[in-house]
Structure formats: structure tokens, C-alpha cells
Amino acid sequence: MSEEKKVAVYICKGCGIGDAIDVDKIKEVVENELKVPVKVHDHLCGSEGVNMIKNDISGEGLNAVVIAACSPRVKKEVFDFGDVFVERVNLREGVAWTHEPKDENTQMMAEDYVKMGVVKAQKAEKPEPYKEETSKDILVVGGGVTGLTAAIEIANAGYKVYLVEKEAELGGWVKNFSKILPGKYPYKEMVDASAYLDEKIKEVEENPNITVYTSTIIKSISGQPGMFDVVVSRNGSEESFRVGAIVVATGWKPYDASKLENLGYGKYANVITNVELEKMLKEGNLVRPSDGKPVKNVAFILCAGQRDAEHIPYCSTVCCLTSLKEALCIREMNKDANVYVFYRDMRTVGIYEEFYKRAQDDEGIFLTKGTVKSIYEDEWGDLIVEVTDTLLGEDVKVRVDLVVLATGMLSSMYGLYTTKEEYPEEGDPPYSHIKPAVPKEVAFEKKDKEWILNLQYRQGPELPTLRYGMPDSHYICFPYESRRTGIYAAGCVRAPMTVRDCELDARGAALKAIQTVELVAEGKTIFPRTGDIDYPNFFLQRCTQCKRCTEECPFGSLDEDEKGTPKPNPLRCRRCGICFGACPEKIISFKQYSVDMISSMLKAVSVPNEEDKPRIIVFACENDAYPAIDMAAKNGLKFNPFVRIIPVRCLGSVNVVFIADSLSRGIDGILLLGCKFGEDYQCHFIRGSELANRRMDNVKETLQRLFLEPERVKLVEVEISDWPKIPEILDGFVEEIKKIGPNPYKGF
């Protein structure tokens, strides 16, 4: 399985470490107890120090080095020795800068950390990538502007594309539009929609890298990134092909205007939606639906059924702009037309303020903020729109031929049955951030009848959604974070946006798809641990089919056989370790991150029998809590020397076994520092901290059975910017533990 482990330890005395800690003593202890060579250097990150390590690696054949110096977050490039496993022991920020120098407790702390580092390095194995023959082709679902753009851009980068569209023709909604918004400076002139679309369709059809499937639906998708097996049905006949990644660009659907009877829709024939108006404009047939008389006066009601808790609570982003665009189209068709636009806030965001100015300049367009009081028909069949809250200083009443309601956009995924966690068969969604877009019954009614991807995943057939049925990223910094590895949503399916933003979004999702096929071909994972080749192994002989791992994986990477045994898909895996945190049998491990490894580190912590030397294990999320502690150190903050901080990839990878092992060894308390969870969760593995919190609740029951106080285990949500609070959190917990008293298991 693995070569012999040759570990050496290097301790740096620089940056105040040597002043605070008796480094030579640590050298002695470690060499005697752990039988590994230890070298001390004044300035390890200097070229002399680094060369020393490099020489030892080649000379001694080291395959793991423990660098006991500064935080693993700094000087990364300096302590990079290729294939050699590097374990960084944080003596500078973690000990010297935050603790009393030359103190017994500080010394013990440093000693423990070095030992923990050594055992970790000893346990680490060399990972081998999961390499399979993968496909680099990409599936684009949806043939609207987003899908077309994605297909063209991917193909132009030299990748093969399958473009699947359920309608008989490509083009999506824009097919029915007459004009689209300008895409470049000065952002004033509308662009002819047909010309725009025809060019795109032509490009798609002429590109040899693109295979187009129209009138086609996806029957099923199974497998994993690089190896997605797609079965499509074109007019009833099935075909299948393999792709490496997927772009979902299935667009939007209009909000059901029949719910807007209060605005006269369905009641008066001349009250129409903006979608219906686009069709009239496209056909050049601007007449009143009621009697076919030409339309002269038009009123646009913006936010119709939007920004409204009763209908769509959000803003559809595009309606202000499209209404202005349609107003201009009407004016182009009829020079005598008067177009009234009643808005709530004019949301021509960013550079599109220019287009607002363009529309304002038209002398036949009349704009005001306003709220519709009532819409009714008079005896001549004209519509009267009464508007209040205007800018004109009083309520106004206009007589028009046509009322256009700017109804909003719903994601095409709205209302679909998506995942088991969004629509569990029993009970409520298991995670507090999940807000199902439609009631469970509605989604279940459509289960197996309506779908988009029909993923053959244990966790459900579609992309998980965020809010309002949109499969968007939850992360501001990472807009293409996807909870289904290798599958990226783009365009209006994920958030309402203009045609122009759809184009940009298509590019982004396309790049992510390309990146996925390239990375998985090398057996590498994608964001956020991009490039990691280490993947979890399942020792299935000992699996009890408890299904915790398959349920808890945030990325749906584990499927199940009939008995409930997990079927790993390493290329879907994102290496967070939540599965190994979930497994009660401890059968899941990475080569360089395992239950065994952390258990050994816990065992390396000294547990003195003295009452004034409590021992607290702190599991800290390596992305937020751990850097916060570093920054506390950088700012000269101090905290108690009884904590032993272990960075973890995610709190979700903290197995309850760690808690039990620690407490049974006499550790007095366990503190978990992880990201915020709930609606605005900050955990980069979606639910790691929430899961940890739930597991700790369960642990507390166990503790009570062992006659241990449940307060010995605590989870605190820490943000990276909470560094000023670090001493308060760490010292506060030690105080709490001191109040409870020492762990009775100490010394056993």
C-alpha cells in the first residue's frame, strides 16, 4: 500500500518563537518519544533553512516533513517540496505570538503541537488520482440565447457540444421578441431580435463542434463529471451519448398573469402581459385584442405581481428595461402613440441608465412612479387606469387602449421536484437554509412527470435550488458554485437577467464546464479544493448501510445500491470530508485526511492530571475560524494555553468518534469553531457546520449517558472577521469548563 514513512521535523526559532519557547527541549522530547529526527534553525524560511530541508529530502529520502514555524497560511510557496508531504505546525501565530513566553503551559502547548504534527505526517499517505477515461464533450441544455451562446463559446474553444432544446426550433423566448437591448456603448439603440438570433443560430448550425438536438428532451443523466451518460429522446426515439460536464440554460417562464385579476388581466381583453405584447410587436400588429382597433395609447404597469409577497416577492431585474424597450418599439410603430409607464422604482441598473435616458428622450413616453388603484373599462371600451402615489402631486387617471402588465420571470425550474432534501417524503427539509419554492404536494405531483435533467442521483433528479426555485450559487464570491459537480446553471434559470447578462453568464458557466472536464480528466476535484487528487476510500466490508454519508453529502456524490450501501462517485466528490464525519463506523478516509489521522493527533495531546491544566480540543474550520485565530495573533491578542487547535477542512468532517475518544482520554472540553449556518450560511461545503451542530446535539445525549456534562462540547459560529472575539471565545470556554470541573475520566 505505501512506502516506508520517513519523517523529519524542522523547528524554526525566528519571529520570536525561540524567545517564547524552549525549542531545544522540544527537539529532545520529540526525538526521544517519537523517534524522528528534529532540526532547529534560526530562520527556516530563509534560503539556508530551505536548502537544508531540500538537502535532507534528497539525501535522507524524506517523504514527509514537519515544519514547526509559522502558520500554514503563510510562506506556503517557500515550504513547498513537490511530492513530499508537508505538515505545518503553527508555533508562531498559534503559540509564540499568543502566549506567555517561557511559560510552562506555553511550552507544553508547543510540544503537543509538534507531536500532533509528527503523528499526522506519519499517518499521511501518498494520494493517487482517480483517473478514468473521461469525455471532454459538454452538454448544453436549452437553446435560448444563453444556451446558444454557451454552445458557441464552448465550441469556439475547441470542445464538442451537444445542444438539446425541447422545442422544434432554437431561439427560446427571444424568438418572439422584436427588439433586444443594446449590448455595447453607448447603450442607446435597440437591436433587431431576429437578426441577432439568426446570426447566433447560424453560428451554432454551422459549427462542426456542435450537435443540435431539437424537439428533444433528456430522459436521464447518470454517472459523474467526465462520465455523464446522457439519454435523450427526440420525437420518441432515444439516443445516448457521454459528456464531461453540463450547462443548464433552460431559461424562464412568465408568472401566471391570471392571478393578476386585480389588474384586470383575464377580465379585460385589452389588458395583456409584456410577453403577449412582444408577440404583437414582433408581428407588427398593434391592435386592441378586444375589437381590433389600432392602439394609440398604452399604459405599462411595472412590477405587476412582483415585489409582492402575494405573488413574486423578488424583482425580475429586466422589466423596467424591457418595458422601456417595448415603449420605444410602440413609438416606432406609431408616431402618434402615447405610452405611459407607471413604475415603482426605475431599475435601469448600472450602465443601462443610458437606455433609460434614451427612452426618456422620446416625446411620446410619459413616465412616473405610481401605484395602480384600479383599472376598468369605460363605455367606449377604453381602459381607464387610476394611479396613486405619483410624482405629479396627485392621483392620475389615464385613458388607454392597451394596458401592459410587466409580469415577472420564474425560473424554468420553479415548481419542479428537485431534490430529496428540498422535498423530503416525510417532514420538513432537514437544513435550515432550504426554502422550497412550492409546497411539497405541488412538487410531488410533478415528480417523474416534469423534469429537466432527470439526474439518476440518490439525492434527487435536479440541481438543488436556492430560493424561489432558482439553482443559483449561494456565494457572492463564487457565482458558479454548484452543488452538483460539473453541472452549471446559466441565464434566467438561475436568476432573472437581461439578454445581455445571459450572454455573459453563458460564457462563465461554459468556462466552468470546460474547467471541469479538464480537471476531472486528471482526477482532480473542482472548487473550492481545486486540484486536490485525494479522494475518499470506503472500506465497504464494514458498512452498516446507515445511509448517513449518502444523505449528508452536500454534493450528492454518493449513490446507493438497493441495500443502501454507498456507491461513491469520486469525480463528483469535493473533498470536504463530510462523509467521513458522518460515518459511525469510521470506514471512510482520504489518504491525507482521515479519521485515523485526527484520532492520532488527539492521542498526541498531553493530558496532565493537574486541575489547573485543563485540556480543550478546538476543531477549527480551516477557512474561517483558523485564519481568524491567525489574525488575532497578528494583532497581538492573547488566549489561554490549554486549547489545542486542530484545523479541519470543514466542521462537517468532525466525526463524533473524535469527541468520544477525546473525552474518554480525559480531555476536558471540545470546542467546535465553524461557519455560520442557517439562511445566510457561510459554510463553503453548504451544510458542514449545521451538520456538526446537529451531530453535537446527538453527542450530548451520549455524554449524559456517560455522566458527562453536555456543556463540555460546544459549537460556536465564527466568521473570519471575528478575530477580535477569539480570546473571548476561547477563554470563555475554558472558564465554562473550569466551572464544570475536570473530566472524571482523566487518568484512565
Binding site: N338, Q360, E363, L392, E394
Partner: protein, 381 residues
């Protein structure tokens, strides 16, 4: 309020100099920046959207349009370059057109195409006078204008055309006043938010209001508040008092002649000195305004309506001064220049009710009305 947007009216206002009005996005910077804008009924933000919608009926009875002294502070700070100051100026022109009688006159007076016609009218009239009465220019002797055109003719002309102008202006005034105060009819009343109709109410009876308005006008208190264009305060002050002084001198001339039998006041006479100072003030004021309009980016432009009045006034001042200088120099050219001067004076007076000159009365009335209704701005006079 049932409204119908009226693009025709919008176009009219645009034509009269409000070409930027559609740019307004209703941020209300103008209402805040304007030092004359009242707290409870600020302008010109609301006027801007009315203008965008072409709400003629509301605008034509809006005294705020006249409270504006066109300092263009608003235009300077307008984030959209909608130039509310210009729009209100255009609206004022449009209001004069609306209320002056007969209304077609305003249209043609303010149409540059007819400019030659309006110069021709006084030329023809004077020409007719000369030919009918067989008047001729004296070739020698002391320069006394009545040796060429008897002063009685000029006076008669003054009374006829001046009187006519005053009468016509009075009609306009009356119509404007009705529009401001009457409810119902073909125009609607301006309703502030609470819905209370604007009536002649507030802390002041109308006579007092007129008195105080006059005081404000004489003191130019409102002008003084404008910040962007401080020069305009001095310029307008010069023009106003210059014109007033010339008017007083003209009146005293008549009084001296008919009451005291002194047809020719000597040059050192206080009345004459006043007149000469007035002429210089008028000339300086006009020059400053013109210079300002040509150079100050915040006051630039102006419509034909503005320029017609301004240049006529300037012409009166310049021809008056040159004529007088020629007379004092003893040159017979003074007679010819005198004719030119008379033409300018005619154009100023006879067309006054249709030209920007009418602002004198409309603004005065609007100010008195604003005072009477408690709608005047709270400014530290």
C-alpha cells in the same frame, strides 16, 4: 385627475426653449437647490414632470413658474442636464402667449420669421408720419428733434401705443389672474397634496400682498438669493432701475412741458441727469446680461423670446445714448439716429404684452399671489 398627456404641448415648450425637459428623472435636486422654492409647494421638480407629460392646464395656472427668477442654480446642479431653469423660462413664454390678447400676436411676435415685419411696422408708421406731414430733416442749426418730428406726434404715438400695450397687458393680467384664482371652468385648480384648493388665503390680504410684492420687486430681494449667477442680480438691478429712471425722466419731460411750460429741460436738470444715468445703467445692465449669456455655461443659450426682448432693450439704450451724443456734438446725424431710436422704442413698448417684457406684470402678480396664499418661499430677505 383625469389626465391626458399632450405631446403637442410638450413640443411647444421644447420649441420655446425647454428642449432638455424630457431628460428630467425627478430627483428633485432643482427644488432643493432653488433658494426661491417654497417648503410646502416646492418647484420646479413637479413642473418638470408636468411639462414632460404636457399637462398644459396645470402649468398655465401655476404661479411657481413666475416665482422662478431664472438664476439657473437648478440647471447648474441638475444631474441630468435637464435645465429646469430653461424649461420654466419656456413655460413663462408659453404663459404670456396664452394670456395675452390677441393670442396669435404672441405667436408671431415670438417667431423669428416675422422679425422683419415687426421692424417694418415702426418704419412704415414713421415713414407715413413723415410723408403725410411732409416732415424734413433740418440741415443746420441747433439739434432739436421737434424741428424734425414735432414732439406732440411722438407723445401722441407714445400715448396711443403705450396705452394700447398697457390695455392689452391688463387683459392678459386679468386672464392670468382668473386662471390663478378661479376653480372649475376650462382649467383645473392646482391641488397641493392635502387636496386643499388654493384660494386667496394665508396671512396677508391681497392689497398688502401687492404692497409687499412691490417692495420685493423694488429691492430685488428674490434675485439676490440666487447663488450661481450673482452677476444677474446686479445686471437686472441696473436694467430695472435704468429703465425706471428713463421712464421717470420721460414723464418729467412731459410734465415740465405741459405743466411748467419748459419744453426743453437743460442738461444739468436733475431729471435729465437721472435720465442719462438711467441710460448708462440700462446699457451696462444689458451688456452684463448679454456677456453673461454668452460666456457663463450655467446661463448660456436662451431662446428667441429672450433675445428679442433683450436686444430690443439694448437697442433702445444704445440708440438713445448715441443719439444724445450726436445731438450734443451738434451733428445732424442725430436726426437719423433719432428715428432709429424711435423704432427701437416702438418695438419695446408696442410689443411688450407679447414679449418677455410682459414678465414684469406676470411675475409681479404671481409674487403677490404667492404672498397672499402663503406660498412664498421662506428666504432671509
Amino acid at each position: 385627475m383625469a389626465v391626458e398627456a399632450d405631446p403637442t404641448f410638450v413640443r411647444e415648450v421644447i420649441k420655446l426653449g425647454g428642449k432638455t425637459l424630457k431628460k428630467c428623472m425627478q430627483c428633485a435636486t432643482c427644488s432643493v437647490i432653488c433658494p426661491l422654492s417654497p417648503e410646502d409647494n416646492p418647484f420646479p421638480r413637479k413642473e418638470m414632470i408636468w411639462a414632460q407629460w404636457g399637462l398644459k392646464e396645470k402649468l398655465l395656472r401655476d404661479p411657481n413658474v413666475w416665482l422662478c427668477h431664472n438664476c439657473n442654480d437648478c440647471s447648474k446642479f441638475c444631474p441630468r442636464d435637464a435645465r429646469p431653469g430653461d424649461v420654466l423660462a419656456a413655460l413663462r413664454a408659453r404663459m404670456i402667449a396664452e394670456y395675452s390678447w390677441p393670442s396669435f400676436m404672441t405667436k408671431i411676435v415670438n417667431n423669428p420669421v416675422f422679425f422683419p415685419l415687426f421692424v417694418l411696422i415702426p418704419i412704415i408708421l414713421i415713414g407715413a408720419l413723415i410723408s403725410v406731414f411732409n416732415l424734413s430733416v433740418p440741415t443746420s442749426g441747433e439739434i432739436i428733434y421737434s424741428r424734425f418730428i414735432p414732439m406732440e406726434y411722438v407723445e401722441a404715438g407714445g400715448f396711443i401705443f403705450g396705452g394700447l400695450a398697457v390695455a392689452i397687458a391688463a387683459i392678459g393680467l386679468w386672464r392670468f389672474w382668473n386662471a390663478l384664482t378661479e376653480g372649475g371652468g376650462k382649467t383645473v385648480v392646482i391641488e397641493p397634496k392635502e387636496g386643499a384648493e388654493v384660494e386667496v388665503q394665508g396671512g396677508m390680504c391681497f392689497i398688502d400682498a401687492v404692497f409687499y410684492a412691490l417692495k420685493d420687486i423694488l429691492k430685488h430681494s428674490w434675485f439676490k438669493v440666487c447663488e450661481v449667477n450673482r452677476n444677474r442680480y446686479y445686471a437686472h438691478l441696473l436694467m430695472f432701475y435704468g429703465f425706471l429712471a428713463l421712464g421717470v425722466t420721460a414723464g418729467m419731460d412731459v410734465i415740465a412741458k405741459y405743466v411748467f411750460g419748459m419744453p426743453h429741460l437743460p442738461i444739468w436738470h436733475p431729471a435729465k441727469i437721472l435720465g442719462n444715468l438711467g441710460a448708462i445703467a440700462l446699457f451696462l445692465g444689458c451688456s452684463m446680461v448679454i456677456y453673461n449669456r454668452l460666456t457663463n455655461p450655467d446661463a448660456k443659450g436662451g431662446s428667441y423670446f429672450d433675445w428679442f426682448f433683450l436686444l430690443t432693450l439694448y437697442a433702445v439704450a444704445i440708440t438713445g445714448i448715441i443719439t444724445e451724443l450726436a445731438r450734443l456734438a451738434g451733428s445732424t446725424a442725430a436726426y437719423y439716429l433719432y428715428v432709429v431710436h424711435l423704432i427701437a422704442v416702438f418695438m419695446l413698448i408696442a410689443y411688450a404684452p407679447y414679449s418677455k417684457f410682459a414678465h414684469l406684470i406676470y411675475r409681479g402678480v404671481a409674487m403677490a399671489y404667492a404672498k397672499a396664499t402663503g406660498k412664498e418661499p421662506k428666504i432671509p430677505f
